[in-house]
Symmetry: none
Subunit: 404 residues, 2 copies
C-alpha cells in the first residue's frame, strides 16, 4: 500500500510495540534436487529453523508478482513494504548509496561490470574473469583519474567489489531511459546506449562518449578492457521507515547493494560486518537501540548462482547455527525470508515463492520443519512481498485497529 493510502493513514501511526528482527537469506527459495525431491533448504540440516517453525506462522512469499523474477533491489523494496512496481529504482542508485556516495535529487547512477572484449568488441567475459578486488580497483581508478566530466556532466566512478563499479552522473536534464549496454551473454558486442525517450537523449550521448573514452584508456589491459553498463536509475526520494511505520531501523549487511536499499528507505546503517559471524555480533552489540533490525546474508544467493547445491545447503546451515544467538536476544518478532529464490538447479534468480516464517507470540504453527513444502500449507498462505511488512507490524502489535 502506498504511504498516502487511506489504509496507511488509518492504521500506521507509529504505535509503540515489539522489537523486530528481519532476516533476509538472499535467494533462499530453491527447487527440488532431482534425486531426492528435496530443495536446498529441505536438504539442509536445520534444527533451529525447524524448532522455530513449530512456534511460527509459515507462508510462501511471492516477492513482486506472479511469474516475476525480481532483482535484489525490487525484491528488498517489496520486503520493506514499498511497492517495487511503482517505486522501482535502477540498481545503480542502490549501488551508489551502497558505496556511500551521497546522491542528490536528479543524479543518475548506473552499475558497471568490468568485462573482457576481443579486438572486434565481442564480449568474451562479462565479469573479466571475476577479477580480484585489487585488480578491479586499479582498473576503475585508472579510468576515474582520466575522466571527471563529459560534455558538462560531472562523472564519478566508484569501485564496488571485484568486477563491479558504479557510475554517477550529475548535471542538468539527465534521464534513465537509456539502453543497457550489457548484452547479458558472451559472443556478442555490447549494445549501443540509445535513448528510448527524448528526456534521456543527453544522458545517452554522455554515456556513449564516456564509453568511447573508456575503450581508449583500457586498450592496453588484457583482461578488464571494457565497461558494460546497466541498471540506470535516478534518485527521487522515498518516505523513510520512521515516517512510514514509526520504526527506527538498523541495517546490518556486508554488501554495499543491501546497505544501499536500506539507506534508501531511511534505515541507519551499522558499520559493515566482515562476515556472517560479525553480522550477528553487530546485532548482539546493538540490540535495544532500535525497533527494527534488518540482517542480510548473501551466501545462499551466491551458491545458488554457482549451481552449488551442497554449498547452498551449507550456507543455510551456517545461518541456522547462529539462530539461537538471535533468539537469546528475545525479539518480539523474528522474520526469516528471502528477497527471491535462487535455485541451484537454475543458477539464477527465479520467480518461485520464497519460504517465509514469522515467529512471535501470536502465531498459528502448522509444521515442525521449515521448507518450501511446509510453507505451502502454512497459515499465511501465499503472501505478496509488499503485504509482509503490515503483517510483521501486526505481529509486533504496532498497528491500530481499522474502524471501530
Amino acid at each position: 500500500m502506498s504511504s498516502s493510502s487511506p489504509l496507511h493513514d488509518l492504521v500506521f501511526h507509529g504505535k509503540e510495540g515489539g522489537t523486530i528482527v528481519f532476516v533476509v537469506m538472499d535467494g533462499l527459495g530453491g527447487l527440488p534436487h532431482p534425486k531426492t525431491g528435496l530443495t536446498e533448504l529441505e536438504s539442509a540440516n536445520t534444527p533451529n529453523l525447524d524448532g522455530l517453525s513449530r512456534q511460527s506462522s509459515l507462508g510462501s512469499l511471492l516477492p513482486v508478482g506472479s511469474g516475476i523474477t525480481p532483482g535484489s533491489g525490487p525484491g528488498h523494496l517489496a520486503l520493506f513494504g514499498y511497492d517495487p512496481l511503482t517505486s522501482n529504482v535502477g540498481r545503480g542508485v542502490l549501488s551508489a548509496l551502497g558505496v556511500g556516495f551521497e546522491l542528490q535529487a536528479g543524479d543518475v547512477a548506473a552499475r558497471i561490470n568490468l568485462a573482457t572484449v576481443d579486438e572486434k568488441g565481442i564480449v568474451l567475459d562479462r565479469r573479466a574473469g571475476r577479477i580480484s578486488d585489487d585488480e578491479g580497483r586499479r582498473v576503475v581508478n585508472k579510468v576515474s583519474e582520466a575522466i571527471d566530466n563529459v560534455d558538462g556532466v560531472d562523472i564519478t566512478l566508484v569501485h564496488e567489489k571485484e568486477h563491479r563499479a558504479v557510475l554517477i552522473m550529475r548535471g542538468e536534464n539527465l534521464g534513465v531511459d537509456v539502453a543497457e549496454t550489457d548484452p547479458q551473454v558472451v559472443g556478442m558486442k555490447a549494445i549501443e546506449p540509445e535513448a528510448s525517450c527524448e528526456g534521456s537523449e543527453r544522458t545517452a550521448k554522455v554515456v556513449k562518449t564516456f564509453l568511447e573514452r573508456v575503450d581508449d584508456i583500457l586498450a592496453d589491459e588484457s583482461v578488464a578492457n571494457a565497461f558494460l553498463i546497466r541498471g540506470f536509475g535516478i534518485h527521487s526520494g522515498y518516505s523513510t521507515f520512521d515516517e512510514r511505520y514509526g520504526l527506527s531501523a538498523l541495517a546490518i549487511a556486508k554488501y554495499p547493494m543491501y546497505r544501499g536499499v536500506a539507506k534508501l528507505v531511511g534505515m541507519e546503517i551499522a558499520s559493515t560486518p566482515s562476515s556472517n559471524e560479525d553480522t550477528v555480533k553487530t546485532l548482539e552489540s546493538s540490540f535495544g537501540s532500535h525497533d527494527f533490525y534488518f540482517l542480510h546474508f548473501k551466501d545462499t544467493d551466491t551458491r545458488g548462482h554457482d549451481e552449488d547445491f551442497e554449498g547452498k545447503m551449507a550456507a543455510i546451515e551456517e545461518i541456522d547455527a547462529m539462530l539461537p544467538r538471535i533468539m537469546d536476544l528475545n525479539p518480539d518478532v523474528l522474520v526469516i525470508t528471502g528477497d527471491h529464490a535462487t535455485p541451484t538447479l537454475l543458477g539464477e534468480h527465479s520467480w518461485h515463492h520464497v519460504p517465509t516464517m514469522i515467529h512471535s507470540k501470536w502465531t498459528r504453527p502448522s509444521a515442525d520443519t521449515f521448507g518450501e513444502t511446509t510453507c505451502r500449507t502454512g497459515d499465511l498462505g501465499v503472501i505478496k512481498g509488499i503485504d509482509l511488512m503490515p503483517l510483521v507490524l501486526a505481529h509486533a502489535l504496532r498497528l491500530n485497529k481499522y474502524g471501530a
Copy 2:
C-alpha cells in the same frame, strides 16, 4: 469490487437463484491454546460444523487486508462485498442506524462510552463499571433532556446498551475529522476533540462545548460522570443489496451495531431477537420470504474479549447445536464465517485469517472437521473479505457468465 466496477455490471444482474443463509460468528478466528496447539474452534465439540465441512468448500478469510485488524464495521462491510477501504464509515453511523435513528445525508454520528473519571479528569474506568442497561439509560436521558442544541447544531442522544450510547449531530458544514476523545487506556485524561481538517472545525467546537456541558450535568454522578466519544462517521449512502446483487435480504441480529451495518446496505431488519435461540426461531418463521438471510451471533467475540477460552468454545458449541435446524430449512447455500478473529489469547480483535465454509451442492470438500487448520488447506484458499460475496452468489447460481 465497487458497484460501478465493470465486473459488477457484467455478472451481477439479479439473476434468480438459490436461497442463502449467511451466518456470522463474530470474532470466530482464534489462536492455538499453548497447551494443546488447538484453537477455540478446534477445541470445541462441533459435530454439526464438522459434518457440514465434509460437504463444503473451506477457506481462510482475510477480512480487510494483510496485517489489518478490522473493527466490526469494516469487517461486516467486507463480508457483504463492499470495499471497506473505500467505503469506511464511522461506527457511530452504524450505531445510529442500529438504534433505529433515521439518518439524513450529512448527519454526523459518533459512539459514546459512559465512563468514570476522577476530579482531575483522569479516566478510571472507560466503561463506567459496565453499568446496567437501566442505569445507562437513566444517565443518557439526564443529558438528553438538558441538551438538544449546541451552537445551532441539533443534538440527538440515544442510549444503546449498558455503557454505550450514540450521538447524532445535524447541521450545516459538519465533518468527521475530529480526534476521538477516548484515550483507550485508563490513567490518562480524555483527549481533546481537535479537528484535523478545516472542514471539521465546526464539529470539533460543537463536540467540545457539548462535553463541557455534559461534565456539568453529570458532576453529581458517582460512576458514570463523563462521556468518551469515538467513531465519528457521516452518512453518505450505499447501493443496496437489492440494487447491487438483486437480493432481498433480511438481517436477524440481536445487537444494534450489526442491524446498523445491515441497514446501511439496504437489508430489511427483522424484529430484534432476544437470544441466539430466538435468532434461529426468527429465521425459521421467516424462511421463504427473502433471498438472503444474515444471522449474527455475538458471543464468540465477547468471550474472546474476555480472554475466556472455554467460554468461547461454549459459544461455538451453542451455535453448532442449532445448525441442524438451519439445515432442515434446506437453504441452497449456507455460509459460516466471521468478521474478524478475536483470539482469547490476545483478548482483542486481530488480523488473523477467519475459518470460512461455503456449503452448497457445488463444493469441493477437503476435510472432515472445521477449524483454522483444515480451512488453511481448503479449496477456497486464502480469500479476501470482499471476494466472498461473489463466491457465495456463484454457489447460489446467481451470477452470469462473464463473456461468451
